[in-house]
Amino acid sequence: MSLIELKGIKKSFYGVEVLHGVDLTLRPGTVHALMGENGAGKSTLMKVIAGVHKCDEGTILMDGKEVRINSPSEAQSLGIAMIHQELSPVREMTVAENIFLGREPSRMGFIDYRKLYAQTSDLLEKLRIPINPKSKMKSLRVADQQMVEIAKAISQNARIVIMDEPTSAITDNEVDSLFAMIEDMKAHDVGIIYISHKMGEIFRIADDITVLRDGTLVNTWPASEVDNDTLIKQMVGRELKEQFPKVAAPIGETVLEVKNLSLTGQYEDISFELHRGEILGLVGLVGAGRTEVMRSIFGMTQPEKGEILLNGKPVHMKSPADAIKKGIAYVTEDRKGEGLILPMSVFKNTTLSALKDFVKTGIIQDVKESKAVDEQVKALRIKVNNLKLPVKSLSGGNQQKVVLAKWMITGPDIMIFDEPTRGIDVGAKAEIYKIMCDYVAQGHAIIMISSEMPEAMGMSDRIIVLSNHKCSGELDRQEFSQEAIVQMQFKYM
């Protein structure tokens, strides 16, 4: 008898289907590992089970009966607990208050603090977690917060526990005690769905392994019947279906050189070169340090060690303003948070970084500004009825084009693209790829961070792979292979 059975789960966001009918069966007393690349749909699928997202189609069976899970609290009452990838404790509350949040033991309507702390002590002792129940959550290390989160899931007496990369922030010792807890839960017939990128862990604890790719189920195996290489091949083994309008531009001299750049906790000893006419792909798992390196090159953070050379001269980027002045543009991964001023008009967003070019004796020259904006709107084919409308009224693809226009107008020599096509429809994607190719063809250079393997391989002239904050390999276009890249991604995990 299965604990939970998912059949044909489909889920779309903003009209884009991200889960295309996925099946999954969890047996009691087992660990079921869920694997796949970034964006394969693992977390989305788990959020469907945990009631965070509602599935559009498909059925969920528990103990053979169909259930509907409409909210996290319904999931909880069905005995489903989820430990999310991103922790969200109430930082000002104590460990005990966090563990029993929303289900505090009470007496006559008041919280029974004695019972609360006694129960928490018992729980933590049983799980061998050496944390004081009365400590404020914010005083704990991230690893300890993670352990508290795990204790919370266990305390709910859940029959199904979902763990989304639970070991991403904890040390080996803590991994051991986590695994001991997992063994204990298995003995009590609890079923665990375990998401992780770490192969070693998977083979230590998993009973079954399921691989997802691009929102579809690839296969499910008993863990004893697959090996490392098979799994990697299955995770990436797709044809390059999407079309990339890649035009190879002549590669020129070195425009940017990074030497032994380090910043504690973010990236270590990063070195690479960027040439004119080149699109350099920067690949790695989420959290590998790709964005962090780029933020330093753009002056948003300061590296502790190492050097950045621009056209052969050492430079020090004090701020984004400084980097822009030196001819660098950064299309960030967070379009709404860092790319655009959402309530501001399309027009004003477009010229924001280049305003000084339109100023004469302190006054903005409307005619000159309009002309420049019109040129960009035309060149990038931004679909907008009225340039005075707030930029938030545009679609994702058009918003992204406004971000591109904003940077293009500054006339940069190097553009950094961080996930340039995330959440954008196929048509706009192709247009953005075309813009990138045209740009490097003019003798400029691009660094592109991408989590989408086909995009990285389709667009880059060269790929650098980061693994766990370090450079783990470099490949030229003719050496590109998904297996090689994925091996490199896991090199230091």
């Binding site: 948003m300 984004p320 960030t332 970084s353 305003l355």
Partner: protein, 318 residues
């Protein structure tokens, strides 16, 4: 979108954009019906003179609120500047009125700069930082004469608040000048664009290459300068320095700004809206005064007007 919903949205948009202006016009009509002297030249001059003084605070506050901040110290800076300029404008001092005025405005500049540094560079929340300087400014006000009023101001100085050029009161001329400068600053220069950007999305503004800290710091300086200018003019108008000048004016200033449709969340607003807000509050106050409505009742009415105006503005929010 069918035409019906479109019409409804347009109506909402209209109410949100012009609601306060329509309210202002209605208010003037009602008061004129109730009292024919309301639209007399003498009363209009009086309204404009007072609106000019109180409005300076609201103009400065608009800059601050556009960046997503707030300045609670405007009333206190007004009082402080009034007292210090009065001290140096005493007939017995024998100083030129401009010197006294500059000293008063200088006080506001220093306190405003202090506010700006606290909020932008030292990362003190605006509410707390300016609450602190409100107290500091009040203390400074009392310190100079141990809370005694300062009479006997020079004629030149008194002229700043009470004088006229032709038929137009000097405070109104000053206000007009300030408005022109502020309109140009806010809508015609990079600086103004950056203020909206910083308030609209601080992170994105930073990534776009804007020195966000300097922008944030500067709006508090503007607020300080304009508040102290108002303080000096007010003192000149009442012809003596009194420590209670500006007490509670911060609430009126904030009310004028939000009535004008500027969002307290920052990044969204309009200067002409603030002008409507200034006139609305001033016309209401003067009208109620003329009708002999008690101060206490006036407070209650004003409270409802502020809430109603912001509610109208919120209609278009979704």
């Amino acid at each position: 979108m069918n035409t019906n919903t479109k019409k409804r949205i347009d109506a909402k948009q209209f109410a949100s954009t012009y609601g306060s202006l329509i309210g202002l016009v209605l208010l003037i009509i009602v008061f004129t019906i109730l009292n024919s002297r309301y639209l007399g030249w003498a009363n209009i001059r009086n309204i404009l003179r007072m609106a000019s003084i109180n409005g300076l605070l609201a103009i400065g506050m608009t800059f601050v609120v556009l960046t997503g901040g707030i300045d609670l110290s405007v009333g206190a800076m007004m009082g402080c500047a009034g007292m210090y300029s009065a001290y140096f404008a005493q007939e017995s001092m024998g100083l030129h009125w401009a010197v006294a005025l500059l000293i008063g405005v200088g006080m506001g500049l220093v306190i405003g700069l202090f506010n700006g540094v606290c909020v932008s560079y030292l990362k003190v929340p605006a509410f707390v930082g300016t609450l602190g300087s409100m107290s500091i400014a009040q203390g400074l006000t009392f310190l100079i004469t141990k809370a005694k009023p300062i009479p006997g101001l020079s004629e030149g100085f008194k002229n700043i608040g009470g004088g006229s050029v032709g038929p137009i009161p000097i405070p109104v001329i000053i206000m007009a000048g300030v408005l022109i400068i502020c309109f140009i600053l806010l809508y015609k220069t990079r600086y103004g664009r950056y203020i909206f950007a910083v308030g609209g999305n601080l992170n994105a503004a930073h990534v776009s290459g804007i020195n966000t800290k300097r922008i944030i710091c500067s709006v508090y300086v503007i607020s300080g300068v304009l508040s102290s200018l108002a303080g000096a003019i007010m003192t000149a108008r009442v012809t003596s320095g009194v420590t209670s000048t500006g007490d509670g004016y911060e609430t009126d200033a904030i009310a004028m700004v939000v009535i004008g449709g500027t969002s307290l969340a920052g990044g969204k607003g309009r200067l002409w809206g603030t002008i409507v807000g200034i006139l609305l509050i001033q016309c209401l106050t003067t009208g109620l005064d003329m009708m002999g409505v008690s101060y206490y009742l006036q407070l209650i009415i004003k409270g409802f007007v502020v809430i109603g105006a912001v509610m109208l503005d919120g209609l278009s929010a979704d």
